[in-house]
Symmetry: C2
Subunit: 205 residues, 2 copies
């Protein structure tokens, strides 16, 4: 198909597609004349993935390049690509202090959760511990075990969801969409569950 | 105490405290001379709550006024104040379409969760359903039951945390801090749990 049709099918404007081509995120089409190229289904799928990474995952073009790089490595395993992917679709993390860092590491070790030392999620967790202390809510960290139990259930459902897909690019798009939309869904459901639990435990409706 | 000491104890600058006084968020101190006033422990506690609402909860001054208004109603119940509070510390919600709205309501009814018709969390949930459809991830909504189960566990822990406190203002500050820091903690733990589950289920470390 021509670039115009690819644009119509994906909703991505032609100048944006050209930008992705220049940045190497999208491989060149097959030249049919000096200034016309033909694109296939693989291009459409890749373009949808780029769109999910940038629009939903809020990734920078450089970060998209890294994720696609991991995807195109010949020796990639699904678990490895998921890891690169997932660290890119990260929470906003600030640097925390050493004591809080050790506490978070101890917590994760106790749960038997392995993690990448540079994982932004670990930094985000440390940041929460530091902020809770600053605000004088030291006991907030006692919640973390209950949260982690709940997150284990969430993660099992997340994996079910992505592993139902068969193509690797589909799986990755599922991770981006599922991670971002999942965060929003979980935040909303948490508030609704709080109201239901509050009504029951405080004996009111 | 003088306004300067209150500023030192809470970390809130004097001009900010004066602004809260003008906006009626903080009740006037006891005048000791035409241009000097004395403040008590109730002022310090209220100031800490305003700080939690604005800094951590990202509430506007108008929203802080509403929450404090609910708190100062003579006939308030804890459940009612928690509701006003919690709707203010809301997720960002966009308006969704009617079909998605009905689907979200059916979902909540099936779980037996009562909710306020204007609850921004319901709108946020609708928004997630709409976005998933737009992105061609219709099956994402099948996740919501697993997420809701997990959120029920989270909400029980959240209520345990706030009900451990005795003063109403402490409870509310616990809700704000717990809701905002909890979202960050849960997002981070979800990613770490995904990695642990992915390692186990895909048979790699």
């Amino acid at each position: 198909m021509r670039i115009g049709e690819m644009s119509r099918r994906t909703g991505v404007p032609v100048p944006t597609i050209k930008y992705y081509l220049r940045e190497g995120l999208l491989s060149p089409g097959e030249l049919t004349s000096p200034n016309q190229a033909r694109y296939g289904e693989a291009h459409v799928r890749r373009l949808k993935l780029i769109r999910a990474l940038t629009d939903v995952g809020k990734l920078s073009i450089a970060a998209v390049g890294e994720v696609l790089g991991a995807l195109d490595e010949p020796e990639q395993s699904l678990h490895h690509v998921l890891g690169v992917m997932q660290r890119s679709v990260s929470t906003n993390a600030a640097a925390g202090d050493e004591a809080a860092h050790q506490e978070a590491e101890k917590f994760l070790a106790r749960r038997g959760w392995h993690y990448h030392p540079d994982d932004p999620s670990v930094r985000a967790l440390v940041d929460v511990v530091v902020k809770a202390r600053e605000l004088g809510h030291d006991r907030f960290v006692e919640q973390l075990d209950a949260y982690a139990d709940a997150c284990q259930g969430i993660a099992e459902a997340d994996l079910d969801h992505v592993l139902r897909r068969t193509e690797v690019e589909d799986v990755l798009e599922g991770v981006v969409v599922g991670t971002m939309l999942g965060d929003a869904a979980i935040a909303a459901l948490r508030r609704l569950a709080q109201q239901a639990v509050s009504a029951r435990r405080l004996g009111e409706v």
